[in-house]
């Protein structure tokens, strides 16, 4: 049973920059964990520390109960799929996939059978004798995965493997990766900056910001119950609507708007009200109104962008919001729409700390 455990993991670079500021997590065997966050948040660094490609300044990482801080990458029994595949250009596909096994002293016959089995699984059996330069991006991607699979490691590591593929291929490969992982039942850690990939692939998801884990949990949990403003804004597409507000004891005030139905919120403190685009409903009796600036037709749904009238604005003149409606709803530009909000799904955060208060 190969779980991965991180305790108090820190990474500080010689120039003083702190990339990872104390991360704790426990990954169960067979889980598909995704590290997600903006560029430079430390997610890749964390992955590379598990791989052994970066040193660990503080804390411990253990795989299957064994502390691997000082173990060399080749001995950790982990396999990695790199963002730009990192295939050996001078070897054939077969050579690329056999290399790791050869170095571990595995016999030729066994290597061949493993390679062929993996190649069949990934549908690259026809390319075994070709060189990487002769393959397309998607094919190279699968060879990179094949190289990892064939090792039968305790942990799979993926470092943004799909970012170099075109959109359609990305969706296809995403599904393949998930299926493969399920089938092989191997603990996996996947790094991406794309929240869609994160949401669809993960059993559990860790949102990382500035070297720290903001929140970790199942995708839906993070979507419905984000613990901070950062997580709420990062997860969910289109992005959650944010409106600056204050609580006066009875109502939530924002500019000219006064919303009732809130209680027990901190007063005299800047707050942010979060409402997801699908939680704002168009209603002729709605208490809120928006001016329509742009209508995007996405097929089954439309997204309507505009200004929330009367709301206090953060910087600038107006608070921009977005609502999701059925494809039939097509208001004219500059027209006014009346909206209702499902308060049970509204989120309120403190502006200073980002912590959720409702």
């Amino acid at each position: 049973m190969a779980g991965v455990e991180l305790t108090g993991v820190r990474k500080v670079y010689p120039n003083g920059a702190e990339a990872v500021r104390g991360v704790d997590m426990k990954i169960e065997h067979g889980e598909f964990i995704v590290f997600v966050g903006p560029s430079g948040c430390g997610k890749s660094t964390l992955l590379r520390m598990v791989a052994g490609l970066e040193g660990i300044t503080d804390g411990e990482i253990s795989i299957d109960g064994r502390v691997i801080n000082d173990v060399s990458p080749a001995d950790r029994d982990v396999a990695m799929v790199f963002q730009n595949y990192a295939l050996y250009p001078h070897m054939t596909v077969r050579g690329n996939m056999s290399y790791g096994l050869k170095n571990r002293g595995i016999g030729k016959a066994e290597i061949n059978s493993k390679v062929e089995e993996a190649a069949k699984m990934l549908r690259i059996a026809d390319f075994l004798d070709r060189r990487p330069q002769q393959l397309s991006g998607g094919q190279r991607q699968r060879v990179a995965m094949g190289r990892a699979i064939v090792r039968e490691p305790k942990v799979f590591l993926f470092d943004e493997p799909l970012s170099n593929l075109d959109a359609k291929l990305r969706v296809q490969m995403r599904i393949e990766i998930k299926r493969l992982q399920r089938r092989m039942d191997v603990t996996s850690i996947y790094v991406t900056h794309d929240q869609t990939e994160a949401m669809t692939l993960a059993d559990r998801l860790a949102v990382i910001n500035d070297g720290r884990i903001e929140q970790m949990g199942a995708p839906l949990e993070l979507y419905n119950n984000p613990s901070t403003l950062f997580v709420a804004s990062f997860i969910g597409s289109p992005q959650i609507n944010l409106v600056p507000a204050r609580f006066d004891g009875k109502k939530l005030i924002s500019g000219d708007l006064a919303l009732s139905g809130f209680k027990d919120l901190p007063e005299d403190v800047d707050l942010v009200l979060g409402m997801r685009p699908d939680d704002l409903i168009q209603s002729d009796n709605g208490k809120l109104s928006m001016r329509v600036d742009l209508v995007e037709q996405h097929g089954a749904d439309n997204l309507i962008y505009g200004a929330l009238l009367g709301a206090e604005a953060d910087e600038g003149d107006e608070t921009e919001i977005c609502i999701k409606v059925d494809q039939q709803v097509l208001p004219a530009i500059e027209s006014t729409l009346k909206l209702d909000v499902d308060l049970s799904r509204a989120l309120v955060f403190r502006k200073d700390s980002g912590q959720r208060v409702l």
Partner: protein, 292 residues
Amino acid sequence: MKRVQFEHSPIPYLFIAPQIIIIVVFFLWPAAQAIYQSFLLEDAFGLSSQFVWFKNYSDTVFSTSWLQAAGFTVVFSTLVTLLSLAIALLLAVKANEVIHGARTYKTTLMWAYAIAPPVAGLMGNLMFHPLIGDLYKLMNAIGWDFNHKLDAFDASFVVILISVWKQVSVNFIFFLSGLQGIPHSVVEAATMDCKNATRRFWTITFPLLAPTTFFLMVINITYAFFETFGIIDTTTRGAPGGATNTLVYKVFQDGFRGADLGGSSAQSVVLMLIVLALTVVQFRFIERKVHY
């Protein structure tokens, strides 16, 4: 070729003229002369000449002194190439690994490129000098009865050592550049696939350096053939008895000192053919390249 070009302009002719003129006057015309003279036999005073077809060639190419020079040139080129490539590769690999002081190492290992071969030759000569040379004393101290003025092996040793020394810098620069051209992620993937660093080097790094290595081999062989003239001229001058003559040095000796124009020209033409062969190899194999 460029997709877009200027047409109907006198400018290209004007611009290319200087180079072409110089080439014709100073390259092609002398080369033609050399070829022409290789078929002649001149008398001692240069007053009359006789057309002798390929006699100069057969006289020269089959003479013992030419064969000796050819033999030495082959051995010399091989040793200089292999040794300077090996030393430079080792230094480049190590220099690529360190972080602290990388720049200092790089600078101090590459600056020897700027030394002229004859200067290196003279320095080496003085260091092996019987009267003052420490290297000379060192050789005798370890029991080697060293005399590079009389002993062919010792003379070759000196010339090879100095030639290798001078060439390490150039090879070092190219190897280092080649190493840095290997994608970092490929190196990382290898770290995860193979624990043994030496094995990683021979199975991953060295094959990926193949284009650089082949290219450098041609450069080094050319260097050993031609540029070592300056080294030989300030150390052994071909002594003892022609043992350290390279083919190029012999051309010079026979032509300028021996005044044998016909023979020297024949040798020049043979050299031209060798250069042609080397160039063909360079452009056919290197350009076709082990392409990654």
